[in-house]
């Protein structure tokens, strides 16, 4: 599974990378970069799901 970011929707709230530094970091502009390419353990999946929930712009999703 992979985390997808919709850059059009994302407004750089910062919530994903400040709440889940294990999975995201900020790029130079302020958009998130996904640090883990393939999500396969439960801990990382939990981070992904929580980040999806916390994103105020509904810009994150998980894809097979």
């Amino acid at each position: 599974m992979k985390v997808k970011i919709d850059k059009n929707k994302c407004y750089m709230s910062g919530e994903c990378y400040y709440n889940h530094p294990e999975l995201f970091k900020m790029d130079d502009e302020g958009y998130p970069i996904v640090l883990v390419d393939e999500i396969n353990d439960d801990a990382m999946k939990k981070h992904a799901l929580e980040a999806i929930e916390v994103c105020p712009a509904v810009a994150l999703s998980l894809e097979e």
């Binding site: 407004y11 709230s13 910062g14 709440n19 105020p56």
Partner: protein
């Protein structure tokens, strides 16, 4: 780089304790930015950062600039350093901090906040009713300090008939924070009265939780267990101080600037109430309620030909960064129409799609203010309600001593001491 090579004029660190600095720190900020972008204050044993991008960088880099008062690996007795008891402000960059934050962060944004707006409307109207027939108001004590605390006490679903008592305790408590002596004694007494009052409510809500903020804090679980009664109280006090006093000062400062700094722009705001958000934003840049945050370095930090050692205390002067010519044109002009400041809601990242720079008044990153959306909405609503109901508002005094920090040790929230306004109905 002539800045770096020529000898900078000396800066006496005792100036930071002076009355002049409390009132008007901006010339010193400029001296810091221009000549000492990294300043080692040997007198107070701390370092100072003041340029916009350096303050931004330090806020973003929580790995290097940690807020924790304790050594990450050492023992620390939570609550020992705060009058208020244990609270989130004591935490640095850690999982515990993220968990604590997430218990309440959602309460002050999005739909939750939308649900509270009618209540903020109503409270503002009620507070205005109390003075509207007088033709004049002392904005700090009769208006600004009345609204935010009532809003928070409502969010916690405290009984409305006790609201006036609650406001009184809160004001004594806040006065007790900075001034010491007699104020401190009265502040501690108010705190104890407040705790006695809230104790049975905490027990009750822990058993039968409702949808309110207090219930939510009571039943929140951190690592599988609920907070102790002491921790719940610490959390509540923090919300009173961090959410009440700050927003109060914000409202007072907004009116101060319109009445005295830019009376010409007051009319613009009366004609177009949507501009209250701009007033809020420009106030948070020009002379924000909070000017400084403290961090400890977790490693050596090389910066401008100097090196901050590990475990050094560093002041991030966001109030100075906000006046940096490197980030804003004519930084010393208060202008609600400026086109180089991001005027809308703040982002925790400090980055915006419109490419403009944001103010630093809520901090950035890990510890970015949790009440940012609420403070903005509440200030804009309260101010626009007042403006709607009055005509011809004017500062009562020809001269005003201006905005100041309360005293040296409080690290204080900035506001005018008092602010009289006359108006027609």
């Amino acid at each position: 780089m002539s800045e770096a090579t020529s000898m900078p004029p000396p800066l006496d660190p005792r100036v930071f304790d002076s009355e002049e600095f409390q009132k008007d720190p901006f010339p010193i900020y400029k001296q810091l930015r221009d000549h000492h972008p990294i300043y080692h204050d040997r007198f107070h044993n701390r370092w100072i950062i003041s340029r916009y991008w350096d303050v931004d960088g330090a806020f973003q880099d929580n790995e290097s600039f940690d807020r924790a008062m304790y050594k990450p690996d050492g023992p620390y007795d939570f609550g020992s350093r705060h009058v208020f008891g244990p609270n989130i402000l004591e935490y640095g960059n850690s999982d515990e901090h993220r968990r604590l934050r997430n218990i309440v962060a959602g309460q002050f944004v999005g739909q939750k906040l939308q649900d509270f707006l009618p209540m903020i409307d109503q409270i503002s109207e009620e507070v205005i009713d109390r003075f509207i027939d007088k033709g004049e108001v002392e904005i700090v004590s009769e208006f600004a300090s009345q609204v935010p605390i009532r809003v928070i006490s409502n969010m916690m679903a405290l009984p409305r008939e006790d609201e006036d008592t609650f406001v009184e305790w809160y004001q004594l408590l806040i006065a007790g924070l900075g001034f010491g002596g007699e104020h401190l004694t009265r502040g501690l007494q108010a705190r104890n009265d407040m705790w006695d009052y809230i104790d049975p409510l905490i027990k009750e809500r822990s058993k039968n939780p409702g949808e309110d903020l207090l219930s939510r804090i009571c039943v929140a679980e951190i690592e599988g267990s609920r907070m102790t009664v002491e921790e719940v109280k610490g959390f509540i006090s923090l919300l009173l101080a961090a959410g009440g006093d700050t927003t109060e000062k914000a409202i007072a400062n907004m009116w101060y600037h319109l009445l005295y700094t830019r009376p010409d722009q007051l009319q613009d705001v009366i004609d177009n109430p949507a501009l209250w958000e701009n007033v809020f934003t420009e106030m948070m840049r020009y002379d924000p309620v909070v000017h400084a945050q403290f961090r400890y370095t977790t490693r050596e930090i090389p910066l401008y030909n100097d090196v901050i050692p590990e475990r050094a205390g560093v002041i991030l002067y966001l109030g100075a960064g906000n006046r940096d010519e490197r980030a804003f044109k004519d930084p010393d002009t208060f202008d609600i129409h400026r086109d180089d400041l991001h005027m809308g809601r703040e982002n925790r990242s400090g980055r915006y799609k419109d490419g403009k720079n944001g103010h630093l008044g809520f901090g950035i990153g890990q510890h970015f203010c949790m009440g940012y959306a609420m403070a903005r909405q509440e200030s804009a609503i309260a101010c626009s309600k007042l403006a709607e109901r009055i005509k011809n508002p004017k500062g009562k005094m020809a001269d005003h001593p201006g905005i100041s920090s309360p005293n040296i040790d409080s690290g204080g929230f900035r506001s005018p001491q008092d602010l009289w306004m006359t108006f027609d109905k």
